[in-house]
């Protein structure tokens, strides 16, 4: 097991190195002069020349990459040419909001998706099963930003039930920052009103972000429940007279959970990518909206950093998922021990 994890870590490090090379070279082969783009048309030629030297743009590509790579290893991602702050400072400031949104959305899809899947599988071919199928079709076909707009329109503007944008309403004092997760921070410091506000703000973006995952998870859980229900060991349990509830929760849920966990890596990838859209719709002050802003402003240092952060996050998630699956599924676990 240890050897397997070690190998996977090495593989991830290699892939991340490749990603850095890919994205760095993309930033250097683009037409136009990055220094000129950064400073705008009003800067003097001397200023541009100065920045060019600072960014090592006057040196060969590999030398540029070497300088950039060694400073990344020191934890320096350069200065954002748009916000004029070190990129690392910006990232630290914006990442918690996005992390909170993604974690919340992920839990939401897990809990609701599983519940719907179990019910639909148990009452298969009922009206509930049909409804869940219809909803999952629509969930998969609706782009997250479009769903966000529909939800905003219905729940914020027409029904007036939900706040529209941001993490908190204006004028509300935020609780002290500990983890940067607003709901969590305000709960542990006893600011219940802030926690409730933050909860209301996160619901709609989280749903728009995760609807497709939720849809897919419920379908996968449903089909694995249906598949396992027909197996002999379940029939045997029914014949023994074991109550339905414990059959579902004890014997059906566990094998049904494995396919759900194995696609979690893809689920998280989907959330990481689509946060870029949802945060724009709901003006969520997070990392992804920062990403969109720097992209629209062609801020090369920040764009590279944003892609790398996503790459690192995705690699870590995949690593965890692989390890968890191999623990959950005795077939994979034993196979690895044997081979």
């Amino acid at each position: 097991m240890g050897k397997y994890i070690g190998l996977r870590v090495l593989q991830s490090l290699f892939v991340l190195f490749g990603l850095s090379l890919l994205i760095f070279s993309a930033s250097r082969v683009i037409p136009g002069d990055p220094a000129r783009v950064a400073l705008g048309p009003l800067a003097t030629e001397e200023q541009v020349q100065e920045l060019r030297e600072e960014m090592h743009l006057d040196k060969p590509f590999l030398v540029q990459y070497y300088f950039w790579f060694t400073s990344v290893l020191r934890g320096d991602l350069g200065e954002s040419l748009y916000t004029r702050r070190p990129v690392v400072t910006d990232l630290k400031r914006f990442i918690p909001a996005t992390l909170e949104l993604i974690v919340f959305a992920f839990l939401l899809s897990l809990i609701i998706g599983q519940t719907i899947g179990i019910l639909a599988g148990h009452f298969r071919d009922s009206w509930f099963d049909g409804l869940s199928r219809l909803i999952s079709y629509i969930g998969i076909a609706t782009p997250p930003f479009a769903l966000g707009i529909f939800l905003l329109l219905i729940f914020s503007y027409i029904l007036n039930l939900m706040p529209s944008v941001g993490r908190l309403s204006l004028g509300l004092r935020s609780s002290p920052q500990i983890t940067g997760f607003l709901i969590f921070d305000s709960l542990i410091t006893g600011h219940l009103d802030v926690a409730w506000e933050a909860f209301k703000h996160i619901i709609l973006p989280a749903i728009s972000l995760t609807a497709a995952n939720l849809a897919q998870e419920s379908r996968i859980t449903r089909s694995s429940i249906v598949e396992n229900q027909q197996k002999d060991y379940i029939t045997a349990h029914i014949v023994y007279g074991i109550p339905t509830r414990s059959i579902i929760f004890k014997y059906l849920l566990k094998p049904s959970f494995i396919p759900t966990v194995s696609i979690m890596g893809l689920d998280i990838a989907y959330l990481l990518g689509n946060a870029f859209l949802v945060e724009v719709v709901f003006m969520w002050p997070g990392f992804s909206r920062y990403g969109v802003t720097v992209m629209l402003n062609k801020d090369l240092n920040a764009i590279i950093a944003v892609v790398l952060v996503i790459g690192v996050a995705f690699s870590v998630v995949n690593l965890i998922v692989d390890i968890v699956v191999s623990f959950l599924d005795p077939r994979i676990r034993l196979q690895r021990k044997g081979g």
């Binding site: 993309a26 930033s27 683009i30 707009i149 529909f150 329109l153 992209m295 790459g311 995705f314």
Partner: protein, 296 residues
């Protein structure tokens, strides 16, 4: 004449095959609905300048007297903030979406297939390692993020959007074809072809590739919907089809700024996207059924 008989027999077998496949495909009414909707959308998009009520509204047209009108009989889906017919612009918007699908799939899929075939056939050599590790690198970030970053660096426009989306799309196919190829490599029919002395191109293209067609075709139909979403997402953020051109994502972004008063400028383009994606998914499901039955 025996030759003619042979030809007739071959043709009628082909016809039977086709009918059998069509039967499996058409058993699910949703697949038929999807197919019809798709054909209609393709037709409407192709004939957009002739069938839309206000073809001149597809570009930088303004008519402030008719701006921001709600849906009515003269403007089915209302007009936008500068007086352009939303229905007309949606039909033109489909052109960009479908064009993107065609370009991305016809660039990305063949590239992915070739790389996947080669890597799978030369498993355990440096060729496989090189190709598959590069594939891994491209798959190490969600495709949307990579496409966004590349378009942003290249400067946002339609051409760069197509280039960027194609660039992030091929790795999925190389991985898919790679997996099938490695599983087929040891099969007898490949071994026999090798023994006879068939060329590598023959083995890969005539022996291995036909066994990948079902998976590739199904994936392509489902991917068409995904390409449309990614394209619309890029346009929505402002890194794709640039105004005044009527990209569906561009129109939604514009409409989103005018919620809730001018809801129709955002809602109808969004519905248009959902409908075309649903149609592609239904057809994809039908293809899946068709090939799944055949394999049994």
């Amino acid at each position: 004449m025996p030759e003619k008989e042979f030809l007739v027999a071959a043709l009628s077998k082909r016809k039977d095959d086709f009918l059998k496949r069509w039967y499996y495909f058409s058993r699910n009414p949703l697949s038929i609905v999807g197919l019809i909707v798709l054909l209609l959308i393709f037709l409407a998009a192709a004939l957009a300048p002739y069938i839309t009520p206000y073809p001149e509204h597809a570009g930088a047209f303004t008519n402030f007297r008719e701006a921001s009108l709600p849906p009515s009989l003269t403007h089915f889906f209302g007009t936008d903030s500068v007086g352009r017919d939303v229905f007309t612009r949606i039909i033109f918007g489909y052109r960009f979406s479908l064009f993107l699908v065609v370009v991305v799939l016809s660039l990305g899929v063949p590239l992915g297939i070739i790389l996947g075939l080669v890597a799978g056939y030369y498993k355990d050599t440096w060729i496989e390692i090189a190709i598959m590790r590069i594939t891994d690198i491209f798959l190490s970030v969600p495709p949307l993020v990579l496409a966004l970053a590349i378009t942003a660096m290249l400067s946002p426009n339609l051409l760069n959007q197509m280039a960027a989306v194609s660039l992030v799309w091929w790795p999925w196919y190389s991985r898919l074809v790679y997996e099938i190829t490695t599983s087929l490599r040891q099969e007898d029919f490949v071994r026999e072809a090798e023994l006879i002395g068939a060329s590598k191109t023959h083995i890969l293209l005539r022996e291995v590739l036909p066994n990948c067609t079902a998976s590739i075709l199904t994936k392509m139909t489902l991917d068409a919907g995904l390409v449309i979403i990614v394209g619309a997402s890029l346009s929505f953020i402002g890194l794709g089809v640039q105004p005044p051109k009527p990209g569906l994502g561009t129109m939604i972004a514009d409409g989103a700024r005018r919620l809730p008063a001018e809801w129709w400028t955002a809602v109808f383009p969004a519905l248009a996207i959902i409908i075309v994606i649903l149609a592609f998914n239904f057809v994809g499901d039908g293809l899946h059924d068709m090939f799944a039955v055949e394999e049994v």
